[in-house]
């Protein structure tokens, strides 16, 4: 596990951005978070980085390019090296909404945003550090 964890956050919903930023702030990780409002912006950024981030945490439903399409593009461009970065879907949708057979289970993680702030903060902690 790298010391300097870089996180690419892809999210279009202002309320969720507010919640996630608050949670990251409380987890002292806000300075590591780079925010993009859709998959396209994130893709452009990621392709121009010399070093990949540790995590890509993405919503599913977004304008221009959604979460599946982003993952699909990254897979096509062989962006992942030794399982890095870890690709995480963080969404209100159910897991069953992901088109079956599109991706292997090993290529992404899946978390729901949940119905409480503390639950969401715990989820982010688990994603980034492996513990709540």
């Amino acid at each position: 596990m790298k010391e300097n964890k870089h996180i690419v956050l892809v999210e279009d919903d202002d309320d969720d951005i507010f919640l996630l930023k608050t949670a990251f702030e409380e987890l002292n990780m806000l300075d590591k978070v780079q925010l993009f409002r859709n998959g396209q912006d994130a893709l452009v950024y990621l392709q121009n980085q010399s070093e990949p981030p540790s995590f890509v945490i993405s919503d599913l439903n977004m304008p221009v390019m959604n979460g599946f399409e982003l993952l699909d593009e990254l897979l096509k461009k062989n962006f992942f090296v030794n399982g890095n970065p870890q690709f995480v879907f963080l969404t209100t949708s159910e897991k069953s909404m992901i088109p079956s057979h599109s991706f292997g289970e090993s290529q992404f993680s899946f978390f729901t945003k949940g119905y409480s702030y503390n639950q969401m903060k715990d989820t982010l902690s688990i994603i980034t550090t492996g513990k709540a």
């Binding site: 919903d13 309320d15 919640l19 608050t22 209100t92 069953s96 945003k113 949940g114 119905y115 409480s116 702030y117 503390n118 969401m120």
Partner: protein
Amino acid sequence: MYILTKLTLSNDLDLMLAHKRSMQVADYGGIGIIQQTSFATAVSEVCRLMLDKESRPCMYLGVLKSKTGRSCVYARITDPRVTSINIQNPNLVYARKLVHGFTVEDDAITLICEMPTTVRLSKELIANGQKLFEELPAVTPYEEAKRLNDQLQEMANRLGESEKKYQVLTDSLPLMMFTVRSDGQMLFANEGFMHFAGTRAFEQLNWLTWLADRQSGISISRILEKMKTGEAFSLEISLKQSLDENRWHLLSMNPIENPLTGQVDWSGFLVNIHAQKLVEETLRDNEELRHIRLALETRQKELDLTVANLNRSNQELAKFAYVASHDLQEPARKMVVFSDMLLSKYHDSLPADGAGILKRIKTGSERMVAVIRDLLDYSKISIDRHIEIEPVQLTQIVQQAREQLEAQIADSGAEVRLDNDLTFMGNKQLLALLFQNLIGNAIKFVEKDIRPEIVISAQQVRLSELKGVNLDPNWAWTSISVTDNGIGFDERFLERIFEMFQRLHSQDQYKGTGIGLAICKRIAEMHRGQLIARSKVSKGSVFTIYLPNIKLSEH
């Protein structure tokens, strides 16, 4: 020569007749009485001579124009044996003297008597003479008897001939012909009738009785009525041909007056028109069938249209519910999250009653989220009628439901036990949703401080068990039951619990949306199965889903 009358001579009595006729012909020729007698005497002398030769001479009486242009009457007696007569016979010589002309040929002797010069031999004279002698009344009883006898004999011959022709003709016709009296007594029947009636003794039949026995379809009284009018008529009637075979016939009746009795007899015929009738009926039936088929097709089209409209409107409704609930989900979730965030982060700085109000907001929002989530589930299963069916493992399904219910199971300490595993045909996602709802209910509806115990078991259903639940016995069935130790319910509400938004408890007792069991029932139906509940108040409930072990073809 113009013949006015002729006579065959066979005996002496005929000689008298020859004399009389000669007198009459001469009289018609305007010849005086003395000359008449001479002519008649001469003729009868010659006839007598001929008769003596035992032959049957023939005598012709008539008028002619002589070579000198004089109008005469003549008598010509023909006989092939004339040559054997002695010309010098005194009687013959005598006769020769009595007439104006006397000619002997090989086969005939002709006697001529001149008429007065005032009489002209006109066409009228000849024609009237022929007519006169034809109608001449009998001169003797013998002649009368002979004439009548001849006529009778000829008529009898002709009648016999005609009758034979009629019988042959009527017998050869493919119809029944008959003559009956008004009272039904049969007077005549042809071969066709006798064949149909099955008897040759038609004289013993009463036609009306016979008809009443044989016909069906119209009443015999109608025929009697028609006969009473005395006018020709025809009717279509059905006649029994054999025990159970009826054949349509056309009955045609014509009245004929019987000259002997003065009564009206009936001459009629019956002709088989069954084939024609059948064709008529078939055509009519066909026509009706075509009308019915057209009506059916029209109705079918209307129905198809209605179904299509209904489907479309249902789909639109389901889509609307899906979109509405999906879009409502996010803002509702935010209300829950932010009120939760406010409560947890600023709990200490909030006044107690303020925190209470905030909790109410949070509770209300949570309920809203629950309703929206269930509606979303329900609309999802309503949009798509086509479901993917594959072999599914009960363990897998229950595990999936368990994951979804992780928090509730943890909070309540519920025990969810799977008695046995089984693989059957179904849709994974839908069945997981079904068990999630059933297990969720079992956890929710328990007495306070009771640990929920849920047992799930599955088995192949025996045919004998199917009676109570009305399942198709041609299919193999799997039943999976979820048994709990909850509060149960009164079976009076069996119907109601599966209806949308129907609840048996208030929100402060047990929270819920009233959608869960409606979803379960719908899922069972989408599998062409059934969901059955058994329960008693405070004794727990058993929910059993029956699923057919078939690959479902859609619709």
